[in-house]
Amino acid sequence: MKELLPRERFARAVRHEKVDRVPLLYRMKSEAKEKIARIYGITKTGTGMKHNPELELRLGNDAIIYQIGINAQFSHRPIKIGETWYNHFGVGYGKSGLKGRTPEEHEEFTKTQDFWGPAKVVPENFPNFHPITSMEDLKNYTWPDPADPELLDPIRTLLEEYQDEYFIIVDLSSTLIEAAYAHVVGTQNFFLYMFDQPELIDGVLDGLTEYYTQLGKNVIDLGIDMIRVGDDVGAQQSMMISPLQWRQLAKPRFQYMFDEFRKSNNDIFIKLHSCGDYSPIIGDMIELGVDLSGLMQPTGGNKNQVELKKMFGKDIAFIGGFDVQRLLPRGQVEQVRQGVCDVMKNLAVDGGYIFSPSHYILADVPIQNIFAMLEAQRDFGTYGKYPLN
């Protein structure tokens, strides 16, 4: 098969059409990105809303993914010690690992983080203030502006510069249940309010649905190729909430949202993402008309990739499935190589698959493992050659 343009390759794979090779989508957190970029001599390493795709395209990505959801800013933003930073939802974020520590101690602390290869781990950012914890809060709350030019303008630029060649994805994560528990309401609050104050949970989820539906329609109108809805409902061994609760709380709201997206562009590709084990709701994703499902985290409940592919693979395309929890950060080079080969065998046969680690590449991944993965994906990701012959 002749070599396809990346944009065409990605779209064809999602449609389960023949492609020359398995399309790719790597994503990195800033520490990992900077580490890899140094090797390629790339200096523009922005992530989140300052995303610069140069490095990812160099590594072979067929798509460009740009984040504008509630996750876009906080997790990529440098937050100072003791600072609480508030985003456009009014959620506050601070830094972990620094309780009672001075800036000098912190400096010393980050210097000692060279482990498992040349990595430098900085503490993560975590939500520490949740704006809606009562009906009163909800009543007085103003949802952000879904036509905010700060969110939409960079997408115009991206489309002009890259869409001729690359597939453009806009990421709304986190969108619904996760946006509510992790950010707007707080995790423990969310689970307790499901029973104590269901009307509060309904109100928050309705507000999020309305905001993200409108935001999604606005970006679809700009001419993007795929909208990514990210909503973590999977834990390591099972779902966080029951599939039944998900069908009550999330499914009808996603149905409304996706119907509205398709009214803006009937051909828009929709990706629905969850971390962890979400295998009990893959059938529901198909009913919702989702085109692409990921990231197939293989270390917990949905590790049976062969069965998942057999059961659902004809009706939905998959992305991900390559272990970032243990194999990529801590495996030996040969194990990484074998891992890539296994994922290709399990998920890429007969198409409908995009190769990706099962989440961001984090700072703890040794460089040699990243290169082992890149090499293995070239070796094992070509249709017509082993193991995809």
Binding site: S96, W116, F126, F191, A235, M239, M311, L362, D364
Partner: protein, 245 residues
């Protein structure tokens, strides 16, 4: 469509275990059924009322705990372990249990009933996740441990200092990120460096952890979920250790 493989491969759905001979330990005409159901469904208000009523009736606090509170809690813990119920249901049951325990614990202490052991728990440095370890905490308390929960983002020094002050039998730390599991190892090494490693048994847990990692980082045990963690704690507390000075 065949969805069998998605189902939990384990025992049948757990059933309520009614404590044998409970009638003989309760006043004439007494019933526990509604309390079992209240704990099962996470009704903390009714649980609080019924435990108060039971105390006023002069029922032995140990009996209230074993016959009144545990059956509903154990049922949900087994269901949680079997993935029949999920985090929200487990949390509200834990909350109900906590309401009952808050009333009973001072009475047990007054009867000079000693805790099984002292357990210091927390999430390692750099990590803010706490749902899992909160559930483990409540379950350990239910099992009779004196639990000191240090919260999230706990520096190794803090674990050591608390273990020393409390003469802890067990220490447990959770980590939820592949970048923070490293601090489980660091914290264990710090216990070693401080000369206290042999005085405590150390358990680890959290999504990216595994039995292999537990061995590699030098822990004494690994819990797949809260129920397993408590079983392991009950076993380890019996094993010999160096005594605190």
């Amino acid at each position: 469509m065949n969805t069998e493989f998605l189902d939990y491969e384990g025992p049948e759905e757990p059933e309520l275990q009614i404590p044998e001979g409970w009638e003989s330990r309760a006043p004439e005409g007494w019933e526990w059924q509604t309390l079992w159901e209240a704990v099962e469904t996470g009704d903390h208000i009714y649980t609080d009322e019924r435990v108060r009523e039971s105390i006023e009736m002069g029922i032995d606090p140990r009996v209230i705990l074993d016959d009144g509170l545990f059956p509903g809690f154990n049922l949900q813990a087994d269901r949680f372990s079997a993935m029949v119920i999920f985090i929200p249901e487990m949390l509200i049951t834990a909350r109900a249990m906590k309401a009952g325990l808050a009333l009973i614990r001072p009475l047990l202490a007054a009867q000079a009933e000693k805790p099984i052991g002292t357990f210091v728990i927390g999430t390692v440095l750099g990590d803010m996740h706490d749902i899992g370890q909160s559930i483990v905490t409540i379950m350990l308390e239910n099992a009779g441990f004196n639990v000191i929960n240090l919260g999230t983002d706990v520096h190794p020094d803090k674990f050591i200092e608390t273990a020393l002050n409390e003469k802890a039998d067990l220490v447990g730390f959770s980590a939820l990120l592949s970048t923070t599991v490293y601090y489980q190892k660091v914290t264990i090494e710090e216990f070693q460096n401080a000369g206290h490693r042999e005085k405590v048994k150390i358990l680890i847990g959290g999504a990216p952890t595994s039995p292999e990692w537990a061995e590699e980082c030098g822990a004494d045990g690994w819990g797949k979920d809260a129920v397993q963690a408590v079983r392991l704690a009950l076993k380890l507390v019996e094993t010999p250790r160096e005594v605190w000075a």
